[in-house]
């Protein structure tokens, strides 16, 4: 623009403004019909809550001109949703929320789909996992639980979501690190596991903070440690004088297991860079709102917003990490 003004030649100036206009048109891709957000898990779960919170934030702050629709496709541990996005290549009005399932479901079920079929947008945050026990149980520290597990007959029961997924991998990692043996009980969701823990039907569970907070606050369950590499960055009091940040990491307590799970957004493959950039910009705006920060704090999500190269690097590393974990556990589907 500056060069154009300096030239002070009418023709050149016209040419320049024409070029600028053209460029701004190409940049500003806008959705032209409702945007569908596919949630690969059932309504009410953590992924669903995140999608609906984002939907609420976008609509409340009018960040898009088109409405957002949340669709649940929970079949086959998210496999159905992933195949749907794969088949929607080029559709710029479809998004999918993701967790580590994006690596693990294809690896354990032989479904012909991979995250590389999609266009990565952003990572909104990472989700932590805790080691939780019933509030009345005698275990004060992870080592008490592990010691009890070594002598227990039948083995102590640990609950989690689904099979051959993050919760079961955590239990296997705990067994490897300590030499104790557990019976892993798969439940359809973290909420069910939490209730079963409150009713003393299992000895422990490995829920995300959001899945366990109700029972922790209600005095039915309590955390022994958190499987994150660092303590959670929230110091507001949650229960009595305890905050999320007061929970020690499992490593601090001598249980050398750490794991966090990405919570991100993808869209189908074969979309234009302008379309991708539109959504990256949209989620950048969502992540900056106070409502999103409240949501993160309430569910103790680990702040870790990534886009572009940083997100891609993370995905590549995380995929190898999960492949490793699944191979060690013997869960990789035979081809």
């Amino acid at each position: 623009m500056k060069a154009c003004v300096q030239a002070r030649i009418l023709a050149a100036s016209l040419l320049c403004s024409g070029a600028v206009l053209g460029a701004s048109q190409a940049l500003a891709w806008e959705p032209t019909k409702p945007i569908e957000v596919v949630v690969p898990f059932s309504a009410g779960g953590a992924s669903d809550q995140m999608a609906r919170t984002i939907q609420g934030i976008i609509q409340k702050n009018k960040l898009t001109t088109q409405p957002i629709i949340v669709v649940n496709k929970p079949a086959a541990a998210g496999g159905e949703a992933m195949l749907d996005i794969k088949d929607s290549a080029g559709d710029a009005h479809k998004l999918i929320t993701t967790s580590s399932g994006i690596f693990m479901t294809p690896m354990t079920t032989k479904l012909g789909v991979s995250w590389t079929d999609f266009t990565p947008l952003v990572m909104m945050a990472q989700d932590a996992f805790g080691l939780w026990v019933n509030a009345k149980s005698p275990y004060k520290e992870p080592k008490d639980l592990l010691a009890a597990a070594k002598d227990a007959k039948p083995a102590l029961k640990v609950g989690g979501t689904g099979s051959k997924r993050e919760d079961q991998l955590l239990v296997i990692a705990m067994e490897k690190a300590s030499g104790a043996k557990f019976s892993y009980i798969p439940y359809p969701g973290g909420g069910a596991a939490s209730t079963q823990l409150a009713g003393e039907h299992i000895a422990a569970d490995t829920n995300n903070p959001s899945e366990e907070i109700a029972n922790w606050r209600g005095g039915a369950t309590r955390p022994l440690c958190i499987f994150s590499p660092k303590r959670l960055p929230y110091d507001a009091k949650v229960v009595g004088d305890q905050s999320w940040g007061d929970i020690p990491t499992c490593r601090e307590k001598g249980l050398d297991v750490s794991y966090e799970m990405l919570r991100g957004m993808f869209m189908p493959g074969k979309v234009s860079p302008e379309q991708r950039d539109y959504y990256v910009g949209l989620f950048r705006k969502v992540a900056a709102t106070d409502e999103w920060k409240d949501y993160m704090a309430r569910n103790a999500l680990v702040p870790d917003f990534r886009e572009g190269e940083a997100f891609l690097e993370f995905l590549k590393k995380d995929e190898l990490h999960h492949k490793d974990l699944l191979t060690q556990a013997g869960f990789l589907a035979a081809n």
Partner: protein
């Protein structure tokens, strides 16, 4: 009596003008959602959830729970008029409701269904009002073994109480279990019986199967009979409501039994679907008119509707008090609570008193509003039965197809619906009961998961199913119901032998 004071404060909150307006809108939307098969309560609530983000939580939950009430009421309408259950829990309502409509008693059947819904829901709300914390704690005693025992009890009561050929019941039950196993297995994380077909990964959706088995097969049967208009013309006016009401007190036993079954299943959480089947099965066995069930007996409409609604309402109790959703709709409402910034769980009653009691008060008012609205529509819906079948049939088929498609936006499901329509037709011709298949399809994989979770925990020891008083009692009760008929027959055979042997002894 602290609860009562809180409830009165709740009434004041719920009775504000805009909240009453939300209640009425919610009930009307819910009826629409309930009438359209496939849309269903959970989807309806999920679709409308975003509308409530800007509202204050109390008004939002009043709107959404009114949709829930409306859907509960609306589900009965298509079941009775067209033999198509709009909701999973109204399958059992078709057994006697549809025959009644065919006999020209649609108005009576609808009134009975709506009133029974109201009574059931009221029983559930009273339960929530007065014993919430106590009952909520009871739900925590249910581990995998106890869940399995509840499901087994439902299956056994169905076999034991059924009047059809027992072998045929078991065959269709087994077929239902087989269909339920298709798709992702929670316990192993593997896909089962999908044969590489993407559509089969979802498994067989209950509603697709039900719409086919009941709705489409019924149309086929009617077409075979030569498109004769089956519904007899009957005088339709609001007097039918009063006439039906005067007959109700006679059935107090059934209403009470179904309310109790429903409340229990809702809290435990066996759910409204299991409750409706159990309510129907028990009424058929213990009613004086039991033999006439299936041929258009009003009691056969009252029993499942009361139980389903008592369960549906009670299911909200564990959600509020413990944060456990007792039903799919409750799960969506639960998600809503969190989006509004409320944390469900034991502390909700303490921290959000206004919200909780406003909701409970709205349950009373929403139900009353719902009853008045649906009763006013009875003549309207009953009039549908006067339209010639040749006109109605294609419309019903289209509604069926839309319903099947809506569940997961899949054309494949429409084909599936038609296939199950033919299966249903063949079953009816061969006199195989359809209900056990449906029951096994809904509860089959949950029962399987529960059994396997229990056995993983006990390392294969079957003793886990008798390890405490609760699960032991449930298991024994299940077997008693299963063997009810042989036991009664055995007892009367013994009595006859005793009576027969006594005189002969005298002769000697």
């Amino acid at each position: 009596m602290e609860n009562l004071a809180s409830l009165i404060a709740g009434f004041e909150l719920a009775l504000s003008w805009h909240n009453v307006a939300f209640m009425i809108i919610g009930v009307l939307l819910g009826i629409v959602v309930g009438v359209l098969p496939g849309l269903g309560g959970p989807n309806g609530v999920a679709i409308l959830l975003p509308l409530t983000f800007g509202m204050d939580p109390t008004s939002a939950i009043i709107l959404l729970s009114s949709i829930y009430w409306g859907a509960l009421f609306g589900g009965a309408i298509t079941s009775i008029l067209f033999n198509i259950p709009g909701e999973a829990w109204s399958v059992a309502t078709t057994f006697d409701g549809y025959p009644m409509a065919v006999q020209g008693r649609a108005g009576e059947a609808l009134t009975a269904a709506f009133t029974a819904s109201f009574i059931g829901a009221l029983a559930g709300v009273v339960l929530i009002t007065f014993v919430a914390p106590l009952v909520a704690q009871f739900a925590l005693r249910f581990g995998p073994a106890e869940f399995f025992a509840v499901f087994l009890l439902t299956f056994c009561s169905f076999i034991g109480m059924g009047r059809e050929n027992k072998a045929k019941i078991i065959v269709t039950l087994a077929l239902g279990f087989l269909l339920a196993a298709v798709g992702m297995d929670t316990i192993s994380g593997d896909l089962r019986m999908t044969f590489g077909v993407t559509e089969l990964m979802r498994g067989f959706d209950f509603l697709v199967v039900v719409i086919g088995l009941f709705g489409v097969s019924e149309i086929l049967l009617t077409v075979e009979e030569g498109l004769h208009f089956k519904g007899k013309r009957a005088g339709i006016d609001l007097k039918v409501v009063l006439r039906t009401w005067t007959a109700l007190p006679r059935y107090w036993g059934t209403l009470l039994r179904s309310s109790l079954v429903g409340m229990w299943m809702g809290v435990t959480p066996g759910g409204a679907i299991a409750a409706s089947f159990m309510g129907y099965g028990l009424a058929r066995r213990f009613s004086r008119n039991g033999a006439k069930f299936g041929k258009g007996e009003m009691e056969g409409v009252l029993a499942p509707e009361t139980a389903a609604h008592a369960a549906g309402t009670s299911a909200l109790l564990p959600m509020l008090a413990l944060g456990i959703p007792g039903s799919a709709t409750a799960a969506v409402l639960l998600g809503g609570l969190m989006i509004w910034g409320l944390q469900p769980g034991p502390l909700l009653f303490v921290e959000q008193k206004d919200f909780v009691w406003g909701l409970i008060a709205s349950m009373y008012l929403g139900n009353i509003a719902g009853l008045i609205i649906v009763l006013a529509t009875v003549p309207l819906f009953a009039a549908v039965m006067r339209v010639p079948f040749a006109l109605v049939a294609p419309i019903i088929l289209i509604i069926c197809a839309i319903g099947a498609y809506t569940i997961s936006n899949s054309i494949f499901d429409i084909w599936l619906m038609l296939i199950f329509g033919i299966v249903g037709y063949v079953f009816k011709k061969l006199d195989y009961p359809l209900a056990p298949l449906v029951l096994a399809l809904v509860l089959g994989d949950r029962a399987e998961d529960a059994a396997r979770q229990a056995l993983i925990g006990s390392e294969g020891d079957l003793g886990v199913f008798f390890s405490n008083g609760l699960v032991g009692t449930l298991m024994v009760l299940a077997f008693v119901l299963l063997l009810w008929s042989p036991m009664i027959e055995g007892l009367s055979w013994l009595r006859r032998r005793l009576l027969a042997s006594r005189p002969s002894e005298a002769h000697n």
